[in-house]
Symmetry: C2
Subunit: 277 residues, 2 copies
DNA sequence: CGCTACGTTGATCGCACTCAAGTATAGTGG
DNA sequence: CCACTATACTTGAGTGCGATCAACGTAGCG
């Protein structure tokens, strides 16, 4: 009844930056190893916008001259940690691109519970792609760290896509991939235990934001138990218990808002587990 | 802390076909009111392919002449209920469009549990949009009823999108919308009770496949308790209990593989419920 | 007309939520 | 620099929702 099962996503961590944190300075990780980008508000408005736009996956195909023209279409904004970029229910007519920092994408429930759908890093887009009807944002975007975002009117962006079909195809690819990833989350929420889900999320974050340190792979972002809980559909307390357990088993090393993965293979076992005891 | 909350999707049922089932014939719904399309295998290969292609949302913009050329690029296949169209893990290089019938999109878990991600109806696409790397299907597509599908090589489809930017944009719109819908499912799985999720799924199916009958809105498809369970991340038994309960409360009328919604407002209350007792 | 798949209902169990109290960390201001 | 406070994290005890196991009805098909 059940055929081939397997994750499609590449599983390597070879792309990770190797930033050997000096052992002498923090051998025991007493303080956050996560780099807290101090924001000079200037850092955002500088005209390295061009270089940022070039790094955005879907513009990398464009000729330089075009990127220069394109640059004028964008405006940039800075946000402090926790600040909302837009709220669910607001009228949606703007597309954003993360220039620096991290952005949380979340949905609210009547119960007051928030669900964290995704954490975006530089180069990722969010906001409104579509101009259909007078759409509203279904989710809320919130600055997770200090961020700088570039924005463009959806309308203008679509004109641009019409002009450059290859760009449109790249945007489609990214969106299709996100759909796949979200469907995998649905599967996990439907079929896996909390323990498995948390292991899986840690691995995914490590792949996305991991940085090799002497201890293992540091997830380079402030990550609270509550963030983890909101990503895996559980509670802060349960997330905390699971992380404590992982720590006892030597799979992770964690402190206040930071996690280092010290046993990737072990976590992978748990995340995949068919519970063959 | 929690701002505007609201569903974005249109909530009307005005588009539903009104097919008054003769009261005399089945006043008590002893047999399935769902139309079981008997498949003459010929029904698929007829050259109403053209008219089908025109109905596909993303080709409707194209000039007739183009559709005719396009027609040659497609091949058609028929499948019996339960037959797989492709399996997860297989190499992915084909894009499909449902011509008639319904197709299940599902993911398998190690535990043996299957998760039903979506049910596609005529005009919906599925399969591989992207040619990145030698991708594998992350999900399985299975004929739910007798179906006819049109298929095209992903490569050819992409060439086509390059040629007709408006088509590419429409495909992007559809994909973006599916992403939104899937994210809403993630939210429900994370934050809502099984009862709420089932109510929500029934309403969504009614909106998608509903047909107005004398009793209420008939969900025009074979729909077992197990299907419902796989769509809401629960078990057959629990799904059955909830439907029984809904039936006692007069919200639905149901039999073997069919459901009529008799109390839409009540279901909406439950699906939205902030549990204000 | 019997077989098979679907559906129902009951009893029991366990994972994860809830409520609650306590500890540790990192910023803050004196 | 250190007390002070806010926020994050931890851990325990009790509970309940929904899964599991099991047995039995029922529709539809060959």
């Amino acid at each position: 009844m059940s055929p081939n099962i397997g994750t499609v996503w590449s599983d390597s961590i070879e792309h990770l930056t190797e930033k050997q944190t000096s052992v002498t300075a923090m051998s025991q990780h007493r303080k956050t190893p996560v780099q807290v980008e101090t924001v000079e508000p200037a850092a955002c408005s500088v005209d390295l916008r061009l270089s940022i736009l070039q790094k955005v996956p879907f513009f990398s195909d464009l000729p330089d001259a075009e990127i220069r023209t394109l640059n004028d279409q964008f405006r940039e904004y800075g946000f402090q940690p926790g600040e909302p970029i837009y709220f669910s229910g607001e009228k949606a007519a703007t597309l954003y691109v993360v220039a620096s920092g991290q952005v949380k994408l979340l949905r609210h429930s009547m119960s007051g519970q928030d669900v964290l759908l995704d954490i975006l890093k530089p180069g990722d887009y969010f906001g409104s792609l579509t101009t259909l009807a007078d759409e509203l944002y279904p989710d809320t975007a919130q600055a997770h760290t200090a961020v700088c975002v570039l924005s463009i009117q959806t309308e203008a962006f679509r004109t641009l896509l019409q002009q450059y079909p290859p760009v449109a195809l790249t945007v489609l690819d990214i969106t299709a991939r996100r759909l796949q990833e979200t469907q995998e989350i649905v599967r996990r929420l439907s079929a896996d235990s909390v323990e498995q889900r948390i292991a899986a999320v840690l691995l995914k974050l490590a792949q996305k934001l991991g940085e090799i340190s002497d201890e293992g792979i540091l997830i380079q972002m402030p990550l609270s138990r509550d963030d983890l809980a909101q990503m895996t559909g559980t509670t802060t307390e349960t997330a905390s218990r699971i992380i404590s357990q992982f720590q006892k088993e030597g799979l992770v090393h964690s402190g206040r808002k930071w996690i280092v993965i010290t046993g990737r293979p072990g976590l992978k076992m748990i995340a995949a587990a068919a519970d063959t005891v």
